[in-house]
């Protein structure tokens, strides 16, 4: 469990980081952010990057601020930054605080980054689920320029994203939520802190006693987290409550294409999808 040899770089500016990345990316050079996914993979020699570009000392990447109607989260902002809901972030702040406690364990959250999670794209990543459910936008930068990628185009299956090897995910932009937006998160795993076997994040508003603008996202169930339009359709226009919530759960189970692992057959995750969706909805309503 000792990593294979690599060259370590610690640029201080974004420009230097991007120039370096452009140079080393073709030889499997990688960005090192919190190291909470990459370093274990290196210890197992599942990853053998030849160069590491450590972005932890890059000035400006730790920016966490509101830009108009989005919350901008820089590449070195740690999970732990969301432990306490910042009132300035409104409902979104509360949602992030609710979600973050399900990510790993305290020490890991003080190092791991939101952008690192998005770049790593584990099917059971809470932040990936959050990004897709809320409709976030990724800001990818190279030495040549920048582009914005909507979440819907970003996730491409298990640990696979639209990012190019020479692109740095400099920032993720999460839309703020209107006051009064309901949100609920439910995760199932065997032990506290483990990656989810299945989870759901939901938001909706209540207009005239009926659900409006429902967002239902599931994670850990399929290769990438995604929204479930069928579940959202089952909710919009209905009164919030057990009937609608269970219908949304059922609608989800009917359409998912679950991943399997040695312990878990597809049927298990299919059932679980219904459970986590309806429970997330119950939490939102509580």
């Amino acid at each position: 469990m000792k990593p294979a040899a690599f060259l370590y770089h610690a640029p201080r500016t974004l420009e230097a980081a991007l120039t370096l990345l452009a140079e080393v990316a073709p030889q499997d050079g990688r960005i090192l952010a919190g190291g909470q996914s990459l370093v274990p993979a290196m210890a197992f020699r599942l990853a053998r990057p030849t160069h590491l570009v450590d972005i932890n000392g890059v000035a400006g990447l730790d920016r966490l601020a509101i830009d108009g109607n989005v919350l901008s989260v820089g590449a070195t902002v740690r999970h732990a930054a969301f432990h306490k809901a910042d009132p300035a972030f409104g409902v979104l702040g509360a949602l992030l605080a609710d979600v973050v406690h399900n990510i790993a364990h305290y020490p890991i959250r003080t190092r791991g980054t939101m952008c690192g999670s998005l770049a790593h794209a584990d099917p059971a990543s809470e932040w990936c689920l959050t990004a897709i459910t809320l409709g976030a936008e990724m800001v990818a930068k190279t030495a040549k320029g920048a582009r914005r990628i909507p979440a819907a185009d970003y996730f491409q299956g298990i640990m696979s994203t639209a990012l190019e090897p020479d692109e740095l995910l400099a920032e993720v932009r999460l839309p703020l939520l209107a006051n009064g937006t309901k949100h609920g998160f439910y995760e199932f795993n065997r032990r506290a802190g483990d990656f989810a076997i299945g989870m759901a994040l939901v938001t909706y508003r209540v207009e005239n006693g009926k659900i409006a603008d429902a967002h239902v996202g599931i994670g850990g169930i399929e290769g990438s987290p995604r929204r479930v339009p069928e579940a959202e359709a089952a909710l919009n226009g209905q009164a919030p409550g057990k009937v609608a919530f269970e219908a949304a759960g059922k609608a989800t189970a009917a359409v998912v294409d679950p991943i399997e692992d040695t312990q878990t057959p597809a049927s298990y995750r299919r059932d679980l999808a219904a459970t986590v969706v309806s429970r997330a909805l119950e939490r939102a309503a509580a």
Partner: protein
């Protein structure tokens, strides 16, 4: 009462804690200061100048012929000093096991130090790389090319046996334990219940992985093994034989140990290799196992299938238990031979008075990691099976689970209770003392069984799946035959106590110091306890099978009493008082009942007066130093009951343990605080085996749990409220202190109690047939 104790030495009821000074008290642990201040010295902390690092090349195939091992590329890596395969150590025999019954027939199944033409599990060591640093060693190990030809694998122990090697079956042994007329029991039975049960493969996973350092001290011609644990003296004996050295030329040293649980400290191929390499390469060798290796290579356990049945008469009196066991030994026979299968067999009837029993165990080799003892070996398994049978029987007969148990418990009047097996050479069990029904009553009360029953029923009525469960068990500990200790007081009044015991973190130093302090009459903090050093004392039993406190404690007690007698003999002469008038209080010889300021002599001053050549000696040996022994032919049998309350989430299949009570009779506790620690720690491990931990394998023998992502140890956050009730109602008559072991009473019944509680929660007796009860399995059960 039959006199089963005839010929055995028995002891009167020992004093209670209240009548003692330090023995039996919640004394603060002596060993903690370095451990809690980051100054521990574990195997990884030990370094020798010029040391090389060893890295193993392991089989990635579960069963295969080794066609070739090409080390050419690996040898080119700068810093690599040597790479060995079996060819390089041909003269070394396989790693030996400690003698047990049927040992001869198991010998062909022993593990070679490096695979000999054939690898039999994923992780089997094939080559060893020695290099200047651990990174280089690992780089080079990656470059060793092993060419193998796949052979069919045996994964399930109950499948048709395969061929271990030409002409040799993978059924290593067929073991049997029985008494009474089992056929007749089932013929006349009123009710019979049959179950097909599985205990999953899991093991002790200490936070400190294995580690070994070989050092050859040429100035003294002594080969040293550092990083040892558990059984240093035993391992030294085996190593001396394997390496052909004189005993004086090989010593084993224990340092701090980060947990053992039966698996850490046994002799493994790597331990042998670091010694051979230290000699041959002329440099110290360090090997630290990584976690992945640990989860693939260190001893595993517990995997058994039981096709069992139980017979009872119309009153619910059990007439017999009949069990056919398929014991999965993994790829090789390791240090314990067939011990675990035998312990499963012999403890099957537990605390019940059962007239007939037949247990047959197919001891089978498979292509998985080898197995040996893990905390409560064979007992976690047999308690699960027996208590499953009892629950299912109660349900079928419409009897209350507690009532059925009560009707069958061995009574106090039946103690000592002898279980003799028909088979030649199978050791009898002599339960030394116990009041099982008393513990049952106390436990039910402490757990609030009746109230909880009602609470659970009320919650069930509201749709929850909650229930309570019970498992009754008998443990064994303190097996003989003998252990010794040395003790001396220096001129400062400091006491050195040398034992052949071992400490795995359980508080060995504290408990030995408490025993010695009580007997001698000194402050326990004045005592330095030496353990795990083969060069300090010629013999030692180490720390296993809940033996240390009973057997080594017995020796320490004898030694301290002998030292006390010696001190008083001289004290009497110096103080001019009869021995009977003297006492030792806080390290000072005083006149009993005399007011402060009376005649006194400190042990330190006495030690000064006993220097060689002192007049006072008058022909007697100098120094305040003695050595003494404790002998016993008999094992002691603590017993306990586990009570659990669980909640099952029908949607996700998750089982959550809400509450747990361990009721345990220990005879006499040396230190209740440490006993509680042992019991609670064991209990959490037991929950691991019941709900979380499993070494699963694919059909081709690939291990599926080689990291902590897949091998789920319960953490603080999964641990329920665990209450402990220690009773001292049945001190052992087999040792002067009345003590019984504590190491395994926390884990023994957990699988059984959790299964019982789940059945209750689901309202379906006998529902749980397999451990661990994972959410996925639960969903399948509910479907």
């Amino acid at each position: 009462m039959t006199d089963h104790f005839a010929g055995a030495k028995t002891y009167p009821v020992p004093p209670t804690t209240e009548q003692r000074t330090i023995l039996g008290k919640r004394a603060t642990r002596l060993e903690d200061p370095p451990l809690v201040s980051g100054r521990g010295r574990y195997a990884g902390d030990i370094n020798f100048p010029r040391q090389l690092h060893m890295r193993m090349v392991r089989s990635s195939m579960a069963n295969g012929t080794i066609k070739s091992v090409n080390v050419a590329e690996a040898l080119k890596v700068p810093g690599v000093v040597a790479i060995w395969t079996h060819e390089d150590i041909k003269e070394l025999g396989p790693v030996d096991f400690r003698a047990d019954r049927g040992a001869e027939i198991l010998k062909p199944y022993r593990q070679p130090v490096l695979a000999k033409g054939r690898a039999r599990y994923v992780g089997d060591p094939i080559a060893a790389v020695f290099a200047e640093d651990p990174y280089v060693a690992e780089d080079a190990a990656d470059l060793v090319e092993v060419e193998m030809e796949e052979l069919p694998v045996v994964i399930d122990s109950w499948a048709t046996p395969g061929e271990f090697e030409p002409g040799r079956s993978t059924e290593g042994a067929l073991l049997k334990h029985s008494f009474g007329d089992i056929e007749a029991a089932f013929k006349k039975a009123h009710t019979i219940v049959e179950l097909d049960l599985f205990t999953g493969r899991h093991s002790g996973v200490p936070m400190e992985t294995r580690g070994a350092l070989g050092y050859y001290d040429a100035t003294k011609d002594i080969l040293e093994l550092h990083g040892a644990a558990k059984v240093p003296h035993r391992n030294r004996e085996t190593l001396v034989k394997m390496l052909g050295r004189a005993p004086k030329g090989l010593h084993v040293h224990e340092s701090h140990v980060g947990g053992g649980f039966g698996i850490r400290g046994e002799l493994y191929p790597e331990d042998v290799l670091v010694l051979v390499a230290a000699m041959r390469l002329g440099r110290p060798i360090k090997w630290i196992e990584d976690r992945r290796e640990h989860l693939m290579c260190a001893n595993q356990g517990r995997e058994q299938r039981h096709k069992c049945r139980i017979a009872a008469d119309e009153n619910g009196r059990v007439l017999g238990i009949d069990d056919e066991i398929f014991h999965d030994q993994g790829a090789y026979v390791r240090t314990h031979g067939a011990n675990v299968a035998n312990r499963t067999l012999c403890m099957m009837t537990g605390g019940y008075d059962i007239p007939a029993y037949r247990g047959i165990a197919h001891y089978r080799l498979t292509n998985k990691t080898p197995c040996a003892t893990y905390r409560a070996p064979g007992r976690y398994e047999s308690t699960f099976v027996r208590e499953r049978l009892m629950d299912a029987l109660a349900d079928k007969m419409g009897l209350d689970r507690i009532e059925l148990r009560r009707r069958n418990l061995i009574t106090k009047a039946q103690m000592p209770y002898l279980i003799e097996f028909e088979e030649q050479g199978v050791e009898e069990l002599l339960y030394d003392s116990g009041d099982y029904e008393l513990l049952l009553d106390k436990g039910l009360k402490a757990f609030r069984w009746k109230e909880r029953e009602a609470e659970c029923a009320a919650r069930r009525a509201k749709g929850e799946a909650v229930g309570i469960g019970i498992a009754f068990f008998v443990e064994e500990s303190g097996r003989g035959p003998s252990d010794g200790a040395k003790m001396s007081v220096d001129v400062n009044g400091d006491v050195e106590l040398i034992t052949g015991g071992a400490s795995l973190g359980q508080g060995f130093e504290t408990s030995m110091a408490q025993i010695a302090a009580e007997a001698l009459g000194v402050d326990y903090q004045k005592i330095t306890v030496v353990h795990g050093q083969t060069d300090r004392i010629a013999q030692g039993i180490g720390a296993h099978a809940a033996r240390a406190t009973v057997l080594t404690g017995g020796a320490v007690n004898e030694t301290a009493l002998k030292l006390r007698a010696k001190a008083l003999e001289f004290g009497a002469e110096l103080l001019q008082l009869p021995v009977g008038d003297l006492d030792i209080v806080d390290g000072v010889i005083v006149k009993k009942g005399a007011p402060p300021g009376g005649p006194s002599l400190s042990l330190g001053d006495l030690a000064k007066k006993l220097a060689p050549g002192a007049k006072l000696l008058n022909g007697r040996d100098p120094h305040l130093a003695v050595e003494a022994w404790f002998n016993t032919d008999h094992t002691v049998f603590p017993y306990g009951i586990h009570f659990a309350q669980v909640r099952v989430d029908r949607q996700t299949g998750q089982t959550v343990c809400e509450n747990f009570l361990i009721a345990y009779d220990i005879g006499r506790a040396v230190n209740p605080m440490m006993v509680e620690g042992q019991l609670v720690g064991g209990c959490v491990q037991g929950l691991g085996g019941a709900l979380y931990e499993e070494f699963a394998y694919s059909e081709s023998g690939e291990p599926l749990a080689v990291t902590f992502v897949d091998y789920l140890l319960p953490t603080m956050r999964e641990a329920p409220q665990i209450d402990v009730m220690i009773t001292e109602d049945a001190p052992s008559p087999m040792n002067p202190l009345g003590i019984k072991g504590a190491g395994e009473g926390g884990i023994n019944g957990v699988g059984g109690a959790i299964a019982s509680a789940i059945d209750d929660a689901l309202g379906k007796a006998g529902a749980v047939v397999q451990l661990p009860v994972t959410p996925q399995r639960m969903k399948a059960m509910l479907a």
